[in-house]
Amino acid sequence: MSSQRLPTRAGELIDRSTSLSFTWNGRSFSGHEGDTIASALAAAGVEVFSRGMKYHRRRGILTADHWDPNLSVQVGDEPNVRAGSRRLVDGMQVSAQNAWPSLRWDLGTANQLVGRFLSAGFYYKTFMRPQFLWHNLYQRILRKFAPGGRVHWKTGTHGDYDKRYAHPDVLVAGGGPAGMAAALSAAEAGASVMLVEQEPELGGHLRWGGPDDLTVLADLREALYSTPGIEVLCDSIVTGRYDHNWVAVMQRSHPVVPERLIKARVGSLVVAPGLVERPYVFAGNDIPGVMLAGAVRRLINLWAVKPGSRAVVLSANAEGDAAVADLESAGVAVIAVLDARAGEDIVQVRGRGRVASVQTGDGRTLKADLLVTATGWSAPTSLLNMAGDRPVYDKVAARYFPQSLPDNVLATGGIEGDGSTAELAAHGRETGALAAQRALRLRHERRTQTARSVRPESTPPASVPDNRIPLRRSPHPECYRSTTHGLVDYSEDISSKDLIQAAGEGFDSIELMKRYTTVTMGPGQGKLETVNAAAVLAEVRALDLADIGTTVWRPPFSPVSLGALAGRIFEPVRRSALQDWHEANGATNLLAGQWVRPDHYGDPMAEATNVRENVGLIDVTPLGKLDLRGPDVANLLNLVYVNRWQKLEVGRVRYGAMVTEDGVVSDDGVTGRLADDHYLMTTTSSGAGAVWEMLEDWLQTYRPDWEVHVTPVTGGLTSINVAGPRSRDLLERLVEDVDLSADAFPYFSVRTGTVSGVQDCIIWRIGFTGELSYEIHVPSGYSLHVWESLVSSGSDLGVAPFGIEAQRILRLEKGHYIVGQDTDGLSKAPTAGLGGLVKLDKADTIGLPELRAAFERTDLPVLVGLQPDDPTIVPEEACQIVAAGSNEILGRVTSSRMSPTLERSICLAQVDPSLASAGTSVTVKLVDGRRITATVQEHHAHVDPEGARQRV
């Protein structure tokens, strides 16, 4: 390998004063700042960069840019890095992919020998039997040959990415002359502008042009950086345009994060991506040394790399002609220039690791190590397609053009047509001005509609018609395939022969052809391949290319890392005001929805027993709490709960259950009346948000005449349940202004008072545990004080905190069902045992007709208390209840625990109505397969079914 670095070039990007060292397949190399990985390697004489996916043929530089299908490499733990555009960084460890054991000796090349049998879709036609061989052998082998790099999932972690929102009036995708000019004129028109260029520097194709191009570029760049209102983002790609101009930009080279996703709501999107040069299909077109004109121009002019020594050029356009000049200036012997415009052609290239000879259309064989093709352009219309456009093929210009774009998307530059640099810039300027106009109108409209904005004083800017002078479409020969077959899709190893075979088998629409052969399905997503593939199909079907269409472009425009898409992982968590205390006092946490809360403090059984014997404290802040005020609260309650609410007195609380319109139990809780027009509603912890939205819905859309204000107060009130036979004793020590005696403050009542000096606490006497208990709702800023006072003043009473697990045990002993656990998505009110609660004679209640229907049915499952006959066995929750002698399912255990109070296992279960009467023996199939018997109880409650303990 010898150095291919040329003497200094006028527009070179490399800084020769620097030296960056890196490794390639373990060997040390060096390059300069400004080099890409590929240019540094090419400068050092490296010619083979990868192997083909299927046949493992050697691959070299083809396009020398972001889209080069042969330049995917592994860099450290990052797979599939685009070596054609990724800038070199000191210390990079680069290695080849798709080659084993080495790039040089790749065993996969064996596939070349059997290549003729591996035609399109061959795997569909064999390995059918025996089936086990497919699974155990063939598939495993296939998976070994999967292409691409290696993810280091063992060591990798997610972390350092983040995102940003932006609201530019105009966003320009592409920083070539057209895009730069558009950005400038848009800013001059008063628009805020974001200019996004995927390369690390602005300029587009001007960068590798002649002295005139470089002068224009310098001037444009200067103007851009001196005009206010333009944010320039280089090394950043516009990766998607979504509905309503929601635009994704992937920013690289950010000083803080490796990649940042910018989500921009854009007034006008200007698409100026230029053109992508198209490869030519002929035999041997994947041999290293076959390059596109743009590739040799970039190599020579941007990185001062000599791409070969003896070149043949096939040129159909000015880019090819310019490549000839560049090659000669770089000291490459151009031994033949074949002019495709005059019908000249090449037929085949031969060579093993490198081009050795070129066979021309007129029968000559030329010795050369470089074949350069300039056979035309593909329009990267992807962003326009995402905006709803269906670009149309123009036979004369031999490429696609935009057809009809929405008002907020405009195209300029090469994608729109051809012209001199001045003409392209002029079109860009006009486009930028138009884009700004439209965006400013939109901004005016937005300001008018948005309450918080500064109201615009002026009338909206006038709408101006699109009077841009269109760019011309220069004629270009339709060069797609020579008379021989060659690769169409480099990353998928698909040849024109494969495509023709597929069409012959019936896959003769472009979409079916794609799916059968996988053409355009690789990492480049058809940037280079789509048009050639369509051209081959057009040839087979003897149709115009325009009638074939293309496959669908979909986001992203260029692949985006999962890390960048994820960004920061924002997972909000909610903590009660007491959560720090719990953690400091030994709590083991549990995540319940967004809430972090104590599951237990070490021994849940003991915590439960302490509640039965002494007094326990549990933080139930996540209970949904809604403050309801207004004269119509009772009407609202009557509507949303299945029971009746008109007669609830001030100072009383009541249990209520809710169903949805289909009669399925959806939430429950207690609601208390604090004053005439003032109530506090509680909901389940997980249902809090939904119930609030539901109340608003009924109030706003169904009964706007009702006067009710709903205020969520869940976090504002810390809820503490003080439960146990000694709870009154404890509270009496801390509550001054409320008479806690059984007569003055009976079960299911509410009082407002001062607890441990904290005023405005709401205390209600209810309980989920079945013991005498009080639920105190304390203003959260002071609730730690209250909690600590309860703990410290009750040490002689045996006060101790308890967690969710103890509460679950206690409530199960008491037979209280949990919505969503003991009921499911189909459980109607009768199943939950709400027969006594539901009032069917109301004029309106949510789900009323379904409630009526449900109570007429006799086939609905019934929730029952259940006890295994062997008291030591606790059937796992979700165990099935089956017919004794068969596998027929007759119900399931919905909750189960060992009861510390009864010292036996207890359950709630949903059973078939035939099994619901007390005393029925049922069969439960345990997880381990054993079948046990259990007996249906008379009540849901296993402990104190009469409720004596809570009424004391």
């Binding site: 629409s509 289909d662 998505g825 399931r892």
Partner: protein, 429 residues
């Protein structure tokens, strides 16, 4: 299949490789007839399988499958191809289990390698309520002889090493429902296999033929449509086609077609999105689903990760896809596998899902004579394709709803007898 057409085999592959002879077409471009015994609207898996079983099992071959685009261009061509049978309800389990059986022998039955990969299916549980649902499913499955069990985090790690099972993550993996026979299949090949086999048996595949209307007679609605009427044919972009039996197999478009017959459906259409990464060396052996994180992922034999999620919350017929889908997807996948943040997403797409209130299909006869539905396939209809085709064919041929589809009648909504899959299927796949 040899009785009907050209048989594929390793020998054939060898011969074609040596002779370089062209392969025959998999299906024809048939000459359209004016009428057929059965017209099936929708050339997805369901339509094609129905046609195939009508011909293969019941000898009814004067059948047309009509599609407005190319075969498999609907959900059948854009799904994440997960097959399994570990459903929650006995009716669901029986139905999907039959389908899995048909998948098992499909490659030989259809003489096309559909690349079924029974690599094991894991549904992760991150909360105790999810774990309870997993247990519920496992217990029902076991009673019905389905290979299905709840496993702990260590076993999850053994089966799928790239998952982060440490207990201190935001959504710790508490366990998983493990279903060894579940896996993935090459979805397009399934479509092509049925298409090829149906074509060989004489069925007409009419691609690029859009149905604009269903012609009815005698119904209580306008133009003789609706309850009490009967079907006489369909109006297409190529003219009218007569038929006494019209089957709606149009999944995401089911409401539009059904409204043409005056039969409203309990369906809303929602986009469901999916995405693939660039290929990387294979490291993910199983199919992984997380209901709480709304994501599922598997790795193809070509090395790409294929991702899916739950349906878009807003109903729509738009398949453009959204950025937020990829953002959420990536975030959730990285919570499961923090080590793959440098893999790159290469393409996103979406398809339409015909969602029913109880996550179960609507199948069989309707109030319009001769108009049948096989719709409501939501996010889970690919795995059901074979059994749906088999039972719909039986239903059409015998004039009586097949036993397996009895729970899925259109009448269940007016009867208030919804199917209980609602809990488990939301992100089930």
């Amino acid at each position: 299949m040899s009785r009907h057409g050209y048989k594929y085999s390793a020998g054939r592959l060898l011969r074609h490789g040596l002779t370089r002879d062209a392969w025959p077409r998999m299906w024809r471009r048939p000459e359209r007839r004016d009428s057929y015994d059965v017209v099936i609207i929708g050339g997805g898996l369901h339509g094609l399988a129905t046609a195939y079983y009508l011909a293969q099992n019941h000898g009814i071959t004067n059948v047309a499958v009509v599609d407005k685009g190319y075969i498999g261009g609907g959900g059948s061509g854009r799904n994440t191809a997960i097959v399994r049978s570990n459903y929650l309800t006995p009716e669901g389990v029986a139905f999907y289990d039959r389908s899995l059986h048909l998948y098992n022998t499909m490659a030989t039955d259809l003489n096309l390698n559909v690349m079924l990969s029974r690599r094991g299916h894991l549904t992760l549980a991150h909360t105790d309520s999810a774990l309870r649902t997993m247990n519920w499913r496992a217990e029902v499955n076991k009673l019905l002889d389905i290979d299905s069990a709840v496993i702990g985090p260590a076993e999850v790690k053994r089966l799928t090493p790239s998952l982060d099972v440490s207990p201190d993550t935001r959504y710790p993996i508490l366990g998983a429902l493990y279903h060894p026979p579940g896996g993935i299949v090459r979805h397009d090949a399934v479509v092509w296999g049925y298409a090829r086999a149906a074509d060989h048996l004489g069925v007409h595949l009419l691609q690029e033929t859009e149905v604009f209307d269903i012609i009815c007679d005698g119904g209580d609605g306008p133009d003789g449509k609706g309850s009490g009427g009967r079907v006489t044919g369909v109006r297409t972009s190529y003219g009218d086609i007569g038929s006494p039996v019209v089957v709606n197999c149009t999944a995401g478009w089911a409401s539009l077609i059904s409204n043409m017959a005056g039969v409203p459906l309990a369906i809303t259409t929602h986009p469901l999105q999916a995405a693939v990464t660039e290929p990387c060396k294979v490291f993910l052996p199983t199919v992984v689903v997380s209901g709480s994180l709304h994501v599922y992922v598997s790795q193809t034999d070509r090395g790409e990760l294929v991702f899916g999620a739950s349906v878009d919350p807003v109903g729509s017929y738009r398949v453009n896809g959204t950025l937020e889908f990829t953002e959420e997807l990536a975030g959730h996948v990285l919570e499961l596998m923090p080590g793959i943040s440098k893999m790159r997403l290469m393409r996103q797409w979406s398809g339409l899902c015909d969602m029913t209130p109880d996550y179960s299909p609507i199948m069989g006869y309707t109030s319009v004579e001769g108009y049948l539905v096989d719709v409501g396939w939501g996010t889970y209809g690919f795995k059901a394709g074979p059994v749906a085709g088999e039972t719909m064919a039986e239903t059409i041929a015998t004039g009586r709803a097949a036993d397996l589809i009895a729970p899925f009648t259109i009448d269940r909504f007016t009867a208030g007898d919804l199917v209980g899959e609602k809990g488990a299927a939301a992100v089930g796949h």
